[in-house]
């Protein structure tokens, strides 16, 4: 395709212009097309794939990755990366587990305070925000490269998660009605009109994130930083402040994912969330986010997350071996980036 387009004369309407325009449109829609193709394939090949119940389950599985990927998209658009999100998932789960199981000891009053579910959610979000704030501060104030800063906090947060319980699982996080801290499992398994709370939350977070990215000054500033950081700074964008906000958003999104996972399992395990950051990056990249920064949309990322989710759930339903699932996932990611590069080449012309 590229060769025929490059042969076209630069001036005047080329005969290929119309067809290359159509190709460009197809390339732009590639993730959506991929999603439709993958879904159609499983509808034929996997038993019971196309049912309302299964679509709900897939959305529930996608939601976890989607939260991480939404935050990750913001970060990547500024030209950064956040490797700590998987560890935040583990840490947040452990903090919630600790609060439900053991409460907060008050040594001077010889008592223990048991926070209720909303307070636990608050603590969890604060944890994510705190790690995000540390990431942002390291990157802006101390000029640590995002890859290194978040690699460091990835290890620290995972270590902290393991330290909280000395590596043990907090099982049976149902809380006790007499302490007023019951109800934690509802977050993961509750539904409204048959739709899981996790999915509703994902839709709300995605809509807000898309609105902020597309319609607010903050969103424009995020893209401006990714496009050309110096130009953004010279035109009056508080680059550092925006960057810190972006990592805080990513940390908070990871905290939501961590809450939902431990609520679904009704248990929190310190190793949960391991390598989730890679799935989040994959979803963002599949959705057209450029690792060089400046480009990417929340909508694209959500579709990317669905491509990954539909693939893995569909392959499980078909009974495909885990090893092939990994190979296929890798191939899809690489194919997506190759198509992305083709689109950029055609755009430049």
């Amino acid at each position: 395709m590229t060769t025929s387009a490059s042969a076209a004369p630069t001036s005047g309407p080329a005969p290929e212009a119309k067809s290359s325009g159509a190709v460009l449109l197809l390339l732009k829609m590639r993730t959506l097309i991929a999603l439709i193709v993958v879904t159609a394939y499983f509808c034929i090949m996997a038993p019971n794939f196309i049912s309302l119940g299964n679509l709900v389950i897939i959305s529930k599985h996608v939601a976890i990755n989607a939260f991480l990927a939404i935050g990750m998209t913001y970060v990547i658009v500024t030209g950064g990366i956040d490797l700590s999100v998987g560890s935040i998932v583990g840490l947040v789960g452990m903090i919630s587990g600790l609060l439900i199981t053991h409460g907060i000891p008050l040594p001077f009053m010889d008592a223990t305070a048991y926070p209720n579910v909303f307070e636990i959610i608050g603590f969890a979000l604060l944890t994510g925000i705190l790690v995000g704030f540390i990431n942002g501060t390291l990157i802006t104030r101390f000029s640590v490269a995002p890859f290194i800063a978040t690699l460091g906090t990835m290890y620290i947060a995972r270590g902290a998660a393991l330290l909280i319980s000395n590596g043990e699982t907090f099982p049976n996080l149902v809380g006790r009605a007499e302490f007023g801290n019951d109800g934690f499992p509802i977050l993961g398994s509750g539904t409204v009109l048959g739709i899981p709370l996790a999915v509703i939350l994902m839709i709300v977070v995605a809509l807000v994130a898309a609105y902020v990215a597309g319609r607010t000054p903050l969103g424009r500033q995020i893209y401006a930083i990714g496009g050309n950081e110096r130009a953004a700074m010279l035109s009056g964008v508080y680059v550092n402040r925006v960057k810190v906000i972006v990592y805080i958003v990513s940390g908070a999104c990871a905290a939501i994912a961590g809450l939902i996972i431990s609520s679904q399992l009704v248990a929190s395990h310190p190793a949960s969330g391991t390598s989730f950051e890679m799935n989040a990056i994959a979803a963002a990249v599949l959705g057209g986010t450029s690792l060089a920064g400046g480009r990417g949309t929340i909508g694209g990322t959500i579709i990317g997350a669905f491509v990954i989710g539909v693939l893995s759930d569909g392959l499980v339903m078909m009974g495909v071996s885990e090893f092939w699932q990994m190979v296929i996932k890798g191939l899809v990611i690489i194919a997506a980036v190759i198509l992305d590069q083709m689109q950029r080449k055609m755009n430049r012309r």
């Binding site: 389950i57 000395n166 395990h269 949960s272 499980v316």
Partner: protein
């Protein structure tokens, strides 16, 4: 690579310089206990059991984890050599990848005692004490067959497929279950020993095969993940069988949510390894063959009350 080697060397030198005066003055002998990550309570109990027994026999202990990373394990064994350990108690990170590292320890005059997992070589370790995973799996499978009423569709959750025990357990399950033609495996998926993965995969399996009556799982963490998925789907009729004997699953067995699990005597096994090491250090022989298999115990509602931290009470 070069950098890690150097930093490892520096660490070792520091450790050695710290350890040297202590060894000289106290004349205490050091037992190095290396296991996979303690985030699995099974491995934690191994370390706890070995450490307690070693201390009660008058040894100093150093507890390390290799996170199933053969290269990290190699570094840890170097550390043990540098600290002139009297013995190494090891739950290893790979049947083949461990051999060379243990040879190094042997050449340095440090005997190793393996627990839980075998290696593909003899004469390198002094003892290899493993739970009889195959025997345990047949126990679990027999109970599974009984509870299923010898018929119906079921799914299997396999552990990490690169891990020897995942394969041995699966074989033990199938050698029993496959004798009953009315029991039909509709799908077999690896959940890599992980609760989170088992949860998501069981949800998908239930969608594809709503008719399943049972799930047999290669370990307890995956069984807990499957149970969470079954509860989320409101399915109380599905028979779940696990493997390991963790306290979480014990509670679920007591409550009738999980049909059975198989206890691997992790705590006792680790203690036994330490006792053999002590005997070997004193008499230059354990008096036992290198490979020792410890039988597993079936845990059902009837005896779940006796189970605590991978050991049966009163034994």
């Amino acid at each position: 690579m070069k950098f890690t080697r150097r930093s490892a060397l520096i660490t070792m030198a520091l450790l050695a310089s710290l350890a040297a005066p202590m060894v000289a003055t106290a004349a205490d002998k050091l037992m190095v206990i290396i296991t996979p990550s303690h985030d699995n309570p099974f491995f934690k109990q191994e370390a706890v059991g070995a450490e307690a027994r070693a201390k009660s026999l008058g040894y100093k202990t150093l507890v390390l984890v290799h996170n199933d990373d053969a290269s990290k394990q190699n570094d840890l064994i170097d550390t043990a050599i540098a600290r002139k350990a009297a013995a190494i108690i090891l739950d290893n990170a790979g049947a083949d990848a461990t051999v060379a590292a243990l040879k190094k320890a042997k050449d340095a005059g440090i005997p190793s005692f393996l627990i839980d997992r075998e290696i593909n070589a003899t004469g390198v370790a002094v003892a290899q004490i493993v739970s009889n995973n195959y025997q345990g799996a047949t126990l679990g499978a027999e109970e599974f067959v009984k509870r299923m009423g010898e018929k119906g569709d079921y799914a299997e959750l396999v552990g990490k497929e690169s891990d020897t025990n995942a394969g041995i357990r699966s074989k033990g399950y199938h050698d029993v279950i496959d004798q009953y033609p009315a029991l039909k495996m509709v799908t077999r998926q690896s959940a890599n020993w992980s609760q989170t993965e088992a949860f998501a995969k069981t949800e998908s399996i239930l969608q594809a095969n709503p008719g399943i009556k049972g799930i047999i799982s290669g370990n307890d963490t995956m069984a807990m993940g499957a149970l969470a998925a079954l509860e989320a789907a409101g399915r109380k009729d599905v028979i779940v069988v696990g493997f390991d004997g963790s306290n979480d699953v014990r509670d679920a067995v007591k409550a009738g949510k999980i049909a059975a699990t198989v206890l691997q005597p992790a705590h006792r096994q680790a203690q036994y390894a330490v006792e053999l090491a002590d005997k070997y250090l004193k008499t230059k022989s354990t008096g036992k063959p290198e490979k020792i298999a410890m039988d597993c115990v079936l845990i059902t509602k009837a005896n779940a009350g006796q189970l605590e931290s991978f050991a049966m009470k009163g034994k």
